[in-house]
Structure formats: structure tokens, C-alpha cells
Amino acid sequence: MAISAPAAPAPPVNERLIRIWETAPGLYGALATVDHKVIGKRYLVTSFVFLLLGGIEALVMRVQLMGPDKAVLSPEAYNQLFSMHGVTMMFLYAAPILSGFSNYIWPLMIGSRDMAFPRLNALSYWIFLLSGIFLYSSFLVGQAPDRGWFAYANLTERPFSPGLNMDFYALGLTFLGISTTVGAINFIVTIFKLRAPGMSVNRLPIFIWGTLTTSFSVLFAMPALTAACVLLYLDRRFGTHFYDVAGGGHPLLWQHLFWIFGHPWVYIVVLPAMGMVSDMLPTFCRRPLVAYSFVALATVSTGILGFGVWVHHMFATGLPPLSTNFFSAASMVITIPSAVAVFAWIATIWHGRPVITTAFLFCAGFIVLFVIGGVSGVATAAVPFDWQLTDTYFVVAHIHYVLIGINVFAVVAALYYWLPKMTGRLLDERLGRWNFWTMFIGFNLGFFPMHISGLLGMPRRVYTYQGGLGWTALNLITSIGAFLFAVGVLALLVNIAVSLRRGRRAGPNPWDGNTLEWATPSPPPPYNFAVIPQVASRHPLWEDRLGEGARSVIDRGPLLDEGRETIGTSPLDAEPQQVLRMPGDSLWPLLLALSLTALFYGLLGSVGWLAIVGGAATIVCTAGWLWPTQEPATTEAVEASA
């Protein structure tokens, strides 16, 4: 690349970098931005809105179940609510919110200026948003998915479900799967290629191990859901016989495909959250994580083992004992890596000097709930016990301990921890205590009694129940707990709103954290790092006090100010290999996502021309996107510390 001497004196480096990396102003910039920080924040806000929607659906159900024989909801409405509650929480909240954190924090954590594929990142967000709207537009026609979030065949086949309900489900999840898949590819390639020089794999924060593992899981699990949904759509619209016994198909094919996807998915929505806790705890315990290598290995092995346990969702379907026993054993084995992580966290607290912040409280609450949810999980891994409890509220209790405990509590902790990095302002610690204790007490009050109502035989997904079965008081307590939990979430929202207006200034490193993101200002400038750092240890900001002799260099290094550029490094040792030129603002991602939306609405309404126009536009947009706009370049001089 030719280095032309500037005619006027060069402006200060920071101004020059801002001009290079800034998103264009106005509406165009809002629609065309590829800044990972903007996209990350959009992911966080959008998935939080879906959390609130799913939460409202849950509260309406808890009003209905507060006492016996209530008629707030019709059975049909109840079916739609619990189905959309599950779909929303599993697909539109739990995974996307973690993608939001990863999108925002990853490049900062690894000393890069953006993700590997900035435009793909934008596409991933737009598809997430549009497929969420697609799924929720089903309420407008009063035909929301109504066969549960795992939608067992053959209740989903056309004769038993003639409306559009399950078409929204099958197409909506296929659509959303594109977002999840391209997002996963982006995360993997980012970690393989964009880490700062010196950040070898043994120096990665555990959060990155978590999202990297789940991104691989997405690559190998998501196609099972896509296949299941496409086959369902073909059955419903084209009269094929995949799930239809009369035509030679089988409903269990759905269950296999769904749970081959579904169980890895459970780990996909918790492993990054566990990683966030593994990175937050050391900051608050004032010491490095105990047994880093074991926690990293536990993360990866959980992801792998997660593919070998799906049949434990199908113990009650009459599969042969050899099969159920195998999967029962595998399900018990998977507790070992989870236990490794739990003991590492406890040891980190034990050997540290914990600073009790709100974020720390949420991390501690997370560990407690993880253990309770883990115990009820091992219990249901035993086949005879599972037979007794399948489709009861015990399973509902388990899934919520696991998902709210390991996902939501970690996410709230991460909000208290990293939101100041994004907004530049701290959240209030006093309100934070109220926030934590209402959520923690409300959660346990709401969900612990479900174990008992399940043991007493209350089936899940009933829209009402009779009095005199011993369930009445338990359900009332559950409903009270659910509303208390909601008050806690409200306290979080108030805290965020107040913080945005007049929160205390955070400064670059309010918690004295040890990873690279805390070396940037809060909020970080569009270019993240003025120079690309050189990493020499696992704790670049704690090297002085740890006295391990390593010296990371953060204030000197390659400047790369000839355009949008960052360093490409080798996958294992992170040795500099190339200068990567990054794309700037682009409308192609949004146009491509809109084309796909047209395609999916066309398929939904059997509107042939719309599907064809959408499909053709998808092809045109892809070609336009891939057509190169930059001149080929050769080499560039890079300054780095020796």
C-alpha cells in the first residue's frame, strides 16, 4: 500500500482514527452501521425486550394458575402463551443476549478493532430482529404457535393444527437459525484470526472459551432444528409424510432431530454465561481464577458431551432399555465438567478477598441456583425417576433453575459489570442490593414450590386445575414469587434508567479488572484501541501485582491508520500474519435480511410471487455484497515493539 505524505500536518492520531472508524451520522448510519459495539448494544436491548415480553406472558399464566378453576385465559390462549413464552425465552432471549455481550466485549477483550466479518455481524442482528418480529406477528392474526416450544409431532401436523400457528413456528425458527449460524461462524473466525499478537489460546478469557465452544455447537446442532422445521413445513404444506405414521413416517423422528439440537442448545445458552462468571469472579475476588485450564477444558468437554445426551428428553417414549441406559449414563457423566467449574468458582472465592458488589452477589446467586438446578438435573437423568416426573412441574422447576439461574443471573451480573464500560456510568449499588434480593427471593419462592407440585403429580402445560388436589397453596406461592421476581427485574430497569441519566462516572476500569477491555475508555472510541496491544499473559492488566514477569504492551504497537485496519494473527499462537482491511458502513446486510423476510412471509402465506421476489432479491443482494469495492493491496509496514 502506498504511503502518501499528507499535505497538511497530520491531525492527532485519535481524531484520524475516529474519522476512519466512525459510523456515518443520521438514518443512513443507523441502518448501515457495522460497528460491533453498536450491534452488540442492539442485541442486548432487543433480547431484553424479548425477555420482558416472555416475562409478561409468564405473569399472565401465573394469574391464571394462581387459584383453581380460573378462567382468565381460554385453553387456546393459554397454549399460545406457554408456547410463545418458551420460544421467546429459549430462542429470542437466552442465546441472543449472550451474543450481545460477546459482540460488544469480544473485540475489546482480544485487542481487536472489530469482529472478523463486520457486515455479517450486522446481518446476524437484522435477521434476529426480523425473525423475532416474524414470530410475534403471529399474534396479530391470532395464530401464535401453540404446541409448546418443542412442538412435538404429530400434534403439529396439519390435520391436528390447521391454522398458521405452527407454520409461523417452523418458518420463524428456520429464519432465526440463519442469524444464529452466521453469528457462530463470525465468532469462530474472529477468535481464530483477530486476537491481538501474543494472545495465544492459553491466555483467552473463559468467556471466550464459552462462546467459542457454543459457536461450534451451533454449527453442528442448528442444522438438526433447521432440518426438523423444514420437514415439518413440507409435511404441512406439501403433503409429505416425515412425521405421519400412516404414510410411513414417524413422530419420533421429530423428537430425535429436535433434541439432537435441543440439548446442545441448553449448553449454548449457558456456557457463555458460565464463562462470564468465570471472568467476573476473579475481579471481585482479587485473584486469578483457580484452575483456569480445567475450567477451559470443562467448558469444551461440556459442549462436546452435550451432543451425547439428547435421548434423556425421550426416556418416556418407549425406546429400548439399552438406549435409555446409555444416555442416562452419559447424562450423569456430563455433571463432572460442571462440577469442575463449580468447585473452581468456590475455590476462587475461598482463596480470594471477595468485594461484595451487586455483580458479585448475582454471581454467587448464580452458583447456588446452578447447584440446585444441577441436582434436579442429575435426578431426572435416572430413567425410573424420570418416568415418574416426565411432564410434571418438577421438570418446569428444573429447567427454570437451570436457565434463569445460569443464564439470567449471570446476565444481570454481567450488566452490572460491563454496562459501565458501554455507557460510561455505573449502576447504583444500593438499588442493586434491592434488585438482587428481590430477584433471588422471588425466584426461589416462585420456582422451588414447583418441585413439590411436580412431585405431587401436577402436569405441566395444563391451563387450569381443580381444587382439593393439594396444589392450590403451592400455586399461589409460585404466583406470588413470580411477581416478586418481576419486581426485581423492574428494579434493574429503574437502575439502568437512572444510571443512564445521572450514574456515577465509571472511568476506564471501575472494578480494577484484568482483561484488555478495561484498558479502553468507557465508552470505548469507535476504533477501540489506538494501537494494537501486544499480550504477554492471561491477565494483561494485573501483571505488575502478580509478579509473573510477563509484560504486555498496551500503549505502543501497530497504529494501522491507513484505513479500517486491524491485525490478523495465527489461530493458535496469535503471531501477526497480515493486516486485515475491514469493511465500513453498508446497507447490504439490511437489504439481504429484508429480502429473506419477504421470502419467509411468501412461504408462510403461500404467496408465490412474494417468495420468488424475496429469493431473487436475496441472490442479488448477496452478489452485490460480495462484489469487491477495494483495490487490491500488497504489503504494509507495521511498527511493533520488539
Binding site: F117, A184, V218, T240, H241, G249, R556, V579, R581, T635
Partner: protein
């Protein structure tokens, strides 16, 4: 800058197998290959649950499909020939190789649609028919995507975008095309050969 600073030169964008675009294609192929694995899993799963002959309409004929399979394998060879050409800067070889590959791909799809006309069952006939058309249809769609990629690359080859060092888009298209061919071998083995000895 202090004395502890060195200056070295790095290639801009990089090329070949070291750059982000190539890794992206590898990951895409991994997830797409998994999709076919699940479709073939569905095929064998439903086969294992079926009593009586599978397929009921008799084993699918190899008359058209065996030559078609060979044709697709040859197209992988021509794609390889095109890519190895541009690696040495051979623009003519790249353009010719892409064109021949494109034509072979089109012929493959034409022959497959001819075969569809001769089949004695429809997707709606039974689960076997549903599986047969869906799996071969998915594969056909992937061939079509490969052809579209080929078209874009051909246009770029005629504009003269590619050099001996810079031809990542060609490499990616070639890898995708080889993937589509290898998947066909799995589909062919499962749908056409396995009923003959399972």
C-alpha cells in the same frame, strides 16, 4: 516510539488459507455438511422403522444417475484445473475451467430433472418418496447455489480481478463446489446404493 520498536512488513488482507474469508467458508461447509448428515439420518431412521420392502417402488435405477455422478466428479476436476490455473496466474485456464464446470453443473441438474420425470413415485406417495425428493432436492439446490457462485466468479474473472496471489473468491467457490460433489457421493451411496445391500 521508543527504541524497543521494530518495523516489519505484513501482507494486506493476506490470501490463501490464512485469511478470514477462507475460514468462513470452511465453517459454512461444516454446518452445511451437518445438515445433510441429519437428512441422511432421517432417511436411515425411517428406513429402520419400516416393515416390508424399502423402497416399495423398487431400487432406484442407476441408468441415468451413475453417469450423472461421474459427470459431477469430472466437474470437480475441471474446477480444480481452473483454480490451479489461477494459482500460476493463468487467466485463460481460470475462465475456461469455470465455464466448463458451470456447463457440467447445469447438465447435472438437467439430467436430475429428467430422472424425476421417470420416477414412479412422488414426494406425497410415502415417507420414502418424501425423503428421496427432499434429499436430492436439497442437494440440487446446493448445486444451483454453486452455479450462482460460479457465475459471479466468472464475471469477476473476465473483469480480471484475480491474480496468482489474490484469488480467495475462486478458492472459496472451488471448495464449495468440491463440498457439493462430496455430499453427492454420500447421497448417492445412501439413496442409490445402500438399498441394494441393506
Amino acid at each position: 516510539m521508543t527504541a524497543a520498536t521494530t518495523t516489519y512488513r505484513l501482507p494486506v488482507d493476506g490470501y490463501g488459507k490464512r485469511t478470514t474469508g477462507w475460514w468462513g467458508m470452511v465453517m459454512l461447509i461444516a454446518t452445511e455438511a451437518t445438515l445433510f448428515a441429519y437428512l441422511l439420518f432421517s432417511y436411515f431412521y425411517l428406513m429402520s422403522l419400516t416393515r416390508g420392502p424399502w423402497p416399495r417402488s423398487g431400487n432406484p435405477s442407476l441408468g441415468l444417475t451413475l453417469p450423472n455422478t461421474i459427470l459431477l466428479l469430472v466437474s470437480s476436476g475441471t474446477m480444480w484445473w481452473a483454480e490451479s490455473g489461477i494459482r500460476r496466474g493463468g487467466q485463460g485456464r481460470l475462465r475456461a475451467g469455470l465455464l466448463v464446470t458451470f456447463l457440467l453443473g447445469v447438465i447435472f441438474l438437467v439430467i436430475q430433472s429428467v430422472e424425476y420425470r421417470h420416477l414412479r413415485f412422488l414426494p406425497q406417495t410415502d415417507a420414502y418418496g418424501s425423503l428421496f425428493y427432499t434429499i436430492t432436492g436439497f442437494h440440487g439446490a446446493h448445486v444451483a447455489v454453486g452455479l450462482l457462485m460460479n457465475l459471479v466468479i466468472q464475471a469477476r474473472a473476465w473483469v480480471g480481478h484475480f491474480t496468482a496471489e489474490r484469488h480467495l473468491a475462486v478458492t472459496n467457490t472451488a471448495w464449495y463446489w468440491h463440498f457439493v460433489d462430496i455430499v453427492w457421493l454420500a447421497v448417492f451411496t445412501s439413496l442409490y446404493l445402500s438399498p441394494r445391500f441393506l
